[in-house]
């Protein structure tokens, strides 16, 4: 009768190199989120506007009478602008618990006792959220552009609007990076994902409202810098070559965005640690 050795057995397989550990974290985060039906429904809803725009493009490109539907820079600019609502909800849904839940479960010391760095950890978490946000911003915008080429049967539109691809790409990257970094930083401040979600909503909604009130009261356009989302709009307007409602220089808006990202990096640097030292 064979006897099965129930003692400890050593692993004789291969081991991967150290690079790309953040991908393991990102993949696990993405898979975990995609298991939730509510989140899948939210992601599908985020593509509804794409369908409307696709129909609009088809009609505008193929029917002569419907030329008012013909695409322009403004079509893609307004599409990305409208997607901000879904960026907001997806950021809250998929991002609030990214670090807060790990802090609640004391998982940080577990992660950082493995052969990964804090940058791997933060990179993995950032990539998780950024992937979902890219899927509802840059991806549908670029697919819309591809559909326009397909419906018109030529590259004429793309050639005549050379700033479109870089504008879509840079606006999406800024939108995704700003939302992801802000959410991660806020998530690292708390052990509760609900609290982190509330903080993000407060930052996104309250700063926008405050900016409007102060701008109306004082007539100063610089108050736009209070709201990260509206500051991003100033840059986005410039990228698409559209006249902005807010009269502040693009460079100032860019500096404000970089400063906010810098604050997020500092917060993450201070909060993502394996050991909380209370001296």
């Amino acid at each position: 009768m064979p006897i099965h050795n129930q003692g400890y057995r050593r692993y004789a397989g291969e081991r991967m190199g150290r690079h790309g550990r953040w991908l393991v974290i990102a993949r696990a985060g993405i898979i975990e989120r995609l298991r939730e039906r509510r989140f899948l429904a939210l992601m599908l809803m985020a593509w509804l506007l794409f369908l409307v725009r696709a129909v609009q493009l088809y009609v505008g490109t193929t029917l002569v009478r419907a030329s008012f539907f013909a695409p322009s820079d403004e079509t893609f600019h307004s599409f990305l602008n409208q997607q901000r609502l879904f960026v907001f909800f997806i950021t809250i849904y998929a991002g609030a618990g990214l670090i807060a839940s790990d802090r609640q479960a004391n998982a940080l010391q577990l992660y950082l006792s493995k052969p990964i760095t804090r940058h791997d950890y933060i990179g993995g978490k950032l990539a998780t959220l950024a992937t979902f946000l890219t899927v509802v911003t840059w991806v549908p915008a670029m697919v819309l552009l591809a559909l326009q080429v397909l419906f018109s049967g030529s590259l004429e539109f793309v050639a005549s609007h050379p700033r479109l691809v870089p504008a879509i790409t840079i606006t999406s990257v800024l939108q995704v990076t700003l939302a992801s970094m802000t959410m991660l930083a806020l998530s690292s401040l708390s052990r509760s994902r609900r609290f982190a979600a509330m903080l993000y909503a407060l930052v996104a909604i309250f700063t926008g409202a405050l900016e409007r009130v102060l701008q109306t009261a004082t007539g100063t356009a610089a108050w736009v810098l209070l709201s990260p989302q509206n500051t991003l709009l100033v840059v986005s307007d410039a990228l698409f070559g559209i006249e902005s409602e807010r009269e502040i220089p693009v460079a100032v808006a860019l500096i404000a965005i970089v400063m906010l990202l810098g604050i997020c990096v500092v917060v993450l640097e201070r909060r993502v640690r394996p050991v909380d030292v209370v001296a």
């Binding site: 400890y8 291969e14 190199g17 998982a107």
Partner: protein
């Protein structure tokens, strides 16, 4: 003998508080108990070995790597079971352990296979598809051991592994540690002396951030014939003083029976000679079986 862990003059500070003070010690291969009362610096030492805490001074070598220079190389070969309750939220046991394996560099398929294997090994085979959040305290201790073992480390750092476990679970956990300590070096941090006595061959005793004593447990316990329970009639204080003058230590003088440690180079008859010189009657004398508690008490100066 090779030492998987070597510390030289290591000092770790938490702000103005010194958690470890100029610690120099080499941990031998096999199972080593890291003993000490709460706040002695055991967990700090383990976290410093993993590179999670940076020492103010000193050097640490783990499995030949300098911790300050190559913390990732150290962590790749070390398994760590933390003291407190910890898990990755939202995962079942097998996904959690496989995920930890992947974080340590195991390929996806191997990590999953190894996770199943390790979960069966620690006794969670039947519960491996349950969410970790639903586990009992004992099961959480086992899964913490599983995640520390999944990548097959060369050194295992266990921080209070039997905390919160029932007697049967504790016995099983200690059995696992003894089994693992064959192929893998283990450092078992605990303040539960019987656990260390059962699972380890060597011990390092920390007290207030310094190494109070270290060595093989059997050697530290010493010859059973060298420890005596003694009760005397007469001036007990003078007797204890006189014993100390001839190099014999005693503890528990204020109680009825004192415990007297006679060094190996002194004859036991010296006890009677000292008693006769001090005019003290020896009313009770019995060879005591030394325990790790006594080693611990001696090291702490209790």
């Amino acid at each position: 003998m090779n030492s998987p862990v070597v510390l030289e003059n290591v000092t770790v500070n938490y702000g103005s508080h010194q958690a470890l003070r100029d610690v120099s010690v080499a941990f031998p291969e096999g199972a080593v108990g890291l003993l000490g009362p709460n706040g002695a610096g055991k967990s700090t030492l383990i976290k410093a070995l993993l590179g999670l805490l940076r020492p103010a001074s000193g050097t640490m070598h783990v499995l030949g790597h300098d911790v300050a220079e190559a913390p990732l190389a150290v962590r790749a070969r070390v398994g760590y079971m933390p003291e407190n309750d910890t898990h990755i939220p939202g995962m079942n046991a097998v996904s959690f352990v496989a995920y930890c394996g992947e974080l340590c560099g195991l390929p996806n398929a191997d990590a999953m296979q190894r996770a199943h294997e390790v979960l069966f090994y620690v006794g969670l085979g039947e519960a491996r598809y349950r969410n970790v959040e639903t586990y009992s305290t004992g099961m959480k201790q086992r899964i913490k051991l599983a995640q520390a073992l999944v990548h097959d480390p060369d050194l295992l750092l266990l921080d209070e592994p039997t905390n919160g476990m029932d007697p049967k679970g504790r016995e099983e956990m200690l059995g696992l540690i003894r089994d693992i300590a064959g192929p893998i070096s283990v450092i078992l941090s605990s303040h539960v002396l019987p656990d260390v006595d059962f699972a380890c061959d060597h011990v390092v005793v920390l007290h207030k951030g310094v190494v109070a004593t270290h060595g093989p447990i059997a050697a530290l316990k010493g010859d059973s014939a060298r420890v005596f329970e003694v009760r005397v009639k007469g001036d007990e204080t003078r007797f204890v003083e006189a014993l100390r003058e001839v190099g014999i230590e005693s503890h528990g003088e204020s109680g009825d029976v004192m415990r007297v440690f006679v060094p190996a180079d002194r004859p036991a008859q010296l006890l009677f000679e000292v008693a006769a010189r001090q005019g003290v009657q020896v009313r009770h004398l019995r060879a005591s079986v030394p325990s790790l508690e006594e080693v611990f008490a001696r090291a702490l100066g209790d």
